[in-house]
Symmetry: D3
């Protein structure tokens, strides 16, 4: 059920019967020469809507702009400061509790949002407002990703490319996949200089890559995208069901020992 399409009359039953909401969040940031800036929020929205359709749980509208200062040197990247993002998400989530929501899944598709969302989840849980967790699609199917791609990325790699090819292929510049690979950083995992004697020394994507992306984009296809989407959507569906099955009191902080 997509909240944005419903009237308040038609939502009454949901809030009477259920207490779970899916909140999609992404970013608007450079994804190389071949992918649109909307990549992350399109992906988040697609997963959240799909899981809502399959399960009947409520999906809210999407938060399109997140924590992306590390991509700022590339044209068009939009971002908000991390603390501002946390406040915005905290405020809107806190207010969902007014309608009786007591468990939230942040369907997230942007790495830069992960820590801020965990921190917001902690604030809300420690205040006993509600229980919120962050989910990223690729974290739910790590084996499949390793199986499908040799150099998955992460950022702007074949993993994300395949998904957008599947979800909205017109947005992908298929003729630039070689450019994406050759102007980017192919083997992120084994790159020198990303960590120096144990310290992560870079702050911005531009510090490591010329065109902002990682991995081998030429390995991407819409078919792989579909395969990934199906697998991860199913994981999200199962997460919804798991979360819905938890007793409310188990989701709140345990007492002092």
């Amino acid at each position: 059920m997509y909240l944005g399409d419903e009237t308040w009359w038609d939502l009454e039953d949901y809030f009477d019967d259920e207490s779970l909401a899916l909140v999609p969040l992404g970013s608007t940031e450079q994804h190389g020469p071949h992918l649109p800036l909307a990549t992350d929020h399109l992906i988040a929205e697609a997963f959240a809507r799909e899981a809502a359709d399959r399960t009947g749980y409520l999906c809210t509208p999407t938060v399109n702009i997140g924590v992306s200062p590390h991509h700022k040197q590339f044209y068009g990247t939009m971002w908000v400061d991390a603390e501002t993002f946390r406040s915005y998400i905290e405020s809107l989530t806190r207010n969902l509790a007014y309608h009786g929501i007591d468990r939230v899944i942040y369907v997230n598709a942007h790495g830069g949002n992960v820590d801020p969302l965990r921190e917001v989840g902690r604030r809300l849980r420690d205040d006993e407002v509600l229980y919120a967790i962050e989910w990223m699609w690729d974290e739910s199917i790590p084996e499949l990703i390793e199986e499908v791609f040799e150099q998955p990325g992460p950022h702007g790699g074949p993993k994300e490319t395949s998904l957008i090819q599947y979800l909205d292929g017109d947005l992908v510049h298929d003729d630039r996949l070689t450019d994406a690979r050759d102007g980017g950083l192919l083997d992120w995992e084994n790159e020198d200089g990303v960590r120096v004697h144990g310290a992560r020394t870079f702050y911005d994507a531009v510090d490591n890559t010329d065109n902002g992306v990682l991995g081998d984009q030429t390995d991407a296809t819409a078919e792989k995208g579909e395969q990934l989407f199906e697998a991860a959507a199913e994981q999200l569906v199962e997460l919804c069901e798991w979360l819905d099955a938890q007793p409310a009191e188990d989701l709140m902080p345990k007492d002092h020992r």
Copy 2:
């Protein structure tokens, strides 16, 4: 030009040549028994994209959740506190300036966002970051609205109903227009008790209306929606052109006398 669909490669020329951006903002809040909660952000997005299409100026993704605590008693209304909203908008706008944007139009479709956006605009201008103004479609065509409707609303009235009928008719429950009118407040302008001896005494929509909406919804048609959309979109196009034509220094605060 819609920023979300573009790659950073394809945005370079825009940022080299232009310095104006359209930022659509709305809300996710009850709009009576007949309209979807997405109404305001759908409208904002439609106008901003249309003006961007007609003029070539850049339109960003939409901010879907705004300042709507006054609708909270109705199922599904989402909102953030006003100061949180201001910070979020200020942060994302401030960062647009990094790419060279020096003038922004907030294409807004929610009354509760107006004052916060004006305040953000002041902060940005007083700091000489950039010049941002707020635009609401109905403020641009007051005569036409008066001409077309006897009881336009505002909130959830025939004005907004017509627009959604035109933009995405499936989202309107046409069979509830009479319910909307009869369960709401028909004549907002002349209602007693909204102002008492000069003071606005109510805070929430629920204080005045049973179903959350104002005006005579039975007066709405998709044709009127199209007429309004065309007229206001044209106003926005002209505003873009006017704004683009202003010398940058004229947009900054004047010196002390």
Copy 3:
């Protein structure tokens, strides 16, 4: 009853019996060549004290400096940022509740304070601390103002000029009324360029006027001032009585539908 003049011994009965307070607020800002910078806080104080005298309700000391960045280019204008103003007013009002006050009228005489005060009122009401509303004298007698003046202003116009002529005539430079009119903006309502295609495009008073004021000041007299003062003070008295008569629970937010 004026709180500032009383000892705590003499206030005990009031707080035992009553729960309403009048809080006057204004600004310290330019009002053209003819009116003192204190204009707005003098007016607010005069109305609040008068209503307190007539009704016996409690009036607090005045907040003299408000949200006036839009007048900064003129010598002597003092102001605080809007969020700072909100915090200051919220804090002092919240603390009135400690003594048992549960309803407050902000007797305001400055347009720039209106939205901030509404926002503070919302915070206090949504937190169920107390119920506060904002009142501006000219909003309570719109017909009389239209009847008395052809070009009332608003800012620094004959409306405010008459009031100060009546309240403290020595502070008005009567010999500059023609200067005020001729160096200002006579017909604010019909001025081009204040709104462009529906967007309010100006931020500062200096953007529209040379001397900072609006309307036809030559139309002001102390007699008109007295007439306005009497009429609006009576409105405020009636507002006090209306507010006092409301059951406390009716002033708090309604429950979720």
Copy 4:
């Protein structure tokens, strides 16, 4: 020169020629059975206006409500949180710098404001905005106070009583001076329990006194008030002259050694 009474036209010369401002600040708080709650802001205003009259320097309107949570248990005490107070004073002072003010004297008459004002002064100076110092009348004439009173107070004692008797005698309940003394704490300096093994252990006035005041109020007279006022006003005048004579660069932070 009192800013509140002037028009912006008449202030131009001052801001062209001078760069010093006096800002009076007090509190609205209980002062025992005999003194009005306005005591502190009346005193601050009287000194600031007097010094402005004698010297020609600019005096702004008064900040009437300060940091008085320690008096809250007594009817009518108003207060704001310390950080809110700091923000409000910082914001209004910062904005005075826009007109060219580079040195400010906070003419303060409330102990609870002292530390917050010092902290604001530091922020403004460390940011090289301007130089602000805090002045309290009784700190300027300690010998005279010791000479005139055996038990001066401080809070609500004969020192403050005399001043109000002189400044506005109608506000003093002379028939309650014995009550004030007998129901309060006579000898504050030698009171046990105020400090325990070196730690100040009390937080609120009510922790030490029944009626909220200190010292021997029966020792107060309007004549003593005049004597104190004259002496301290003269100190403030000299402080203005001293401050005005300092080179601007001497008032800013020294460089790193």
Copy 5:
């Protein structure tokens, strides 16, 4: 009992039986040519640990960096803004209450922390979280200090020098005591220019002293240090016992009169 050395197993009994904690706080700032920058936090830690050893009450780890902007011009001084310091201390103290602590002594050895700690104590008490007071060793033995030294300082004077000579003599440059005295300000109490007509006019240590210290350091000996340490430690022990003996309800704010 020192919290840092214990396991959580071994703390259970303490939290079951007791509710008092000692929190040492100091600064890291210049103390002249002869004393280490750690002086203040070493002293705070020494007193807090000693009192904990003698009484069995719990001592937490030390907060080493405090509010020292007034020493910034001297090499190596570290500091945080006052409001940041308050937040940090408030947060860690508030969380001690989670384990059942309801009374805290801030064992402080830096003048710049005094007012911030009092303010934090007020916030915590007014919110009825717990009762916290600030203690400085030299405030507990004023007569002894006057007796032992002719020019005690305060900052970096013989008082602090003696203590460090006693606590960790290797850290004192005994060969620079004459330099310390001759390059500093000997007689702080009688110095002209520190107060001008009642106003404290300086902000930074460098404004008054060349080498950053006050008093006659040549008067310091480890024996005097021991004497002071013993006397003040005993005061702190007695303060712990006094505080522990207070009924919890007596430590909370009194009701409104």
Copy 6:
């Protein structure tokens, strides 16, 4: 060079010649039945001091209390909110820049501080104040750790146990190592329920472990601790040298592409 032990005289040369500082940070939190609550800040301090000794770079005093709400259910855990921690660290680091420091290594030994420190580093770098990076000892020697331990932990495991056995063996309860292992979670990596369908579902240590620790503590020895310490200290030394060798401009954000 340890800043806390030095006088400002003796620091002048360092600040003239060098611009790097090591800032140790840890936490005060439960580490199972066998390790002291100080574990993390002891480790951080030991590494930072050691690297400073070996290289001559400056080491500051330690921040002992960090972001540990996830351990709160165990007796004695101290913590501050993440945003408070960020402000505190940002403020003290920002002020190091006043003395000319332009590169900082946060020598951190607590996982909960990692993300906050990265965020602070970003703020400082984006504002072009200085370049700060976070280093954790175990991240610098992952192969060695895997080689030495089968079940390293992380929290309170043999890795940390060995280090404290080496650094200050008296603080370890060697007789509880079996308890630690058996009452904790042995195989963290392969534990079910820590991630559910890709989402990290737990917030607090108590959610997973009975006694708060992970790994096989019986595998710890002081010899292993020494081996780890030597290896990681050497990494930190090399990091210092690498960082010192970077041109200042390379450490600041790159320009917009």
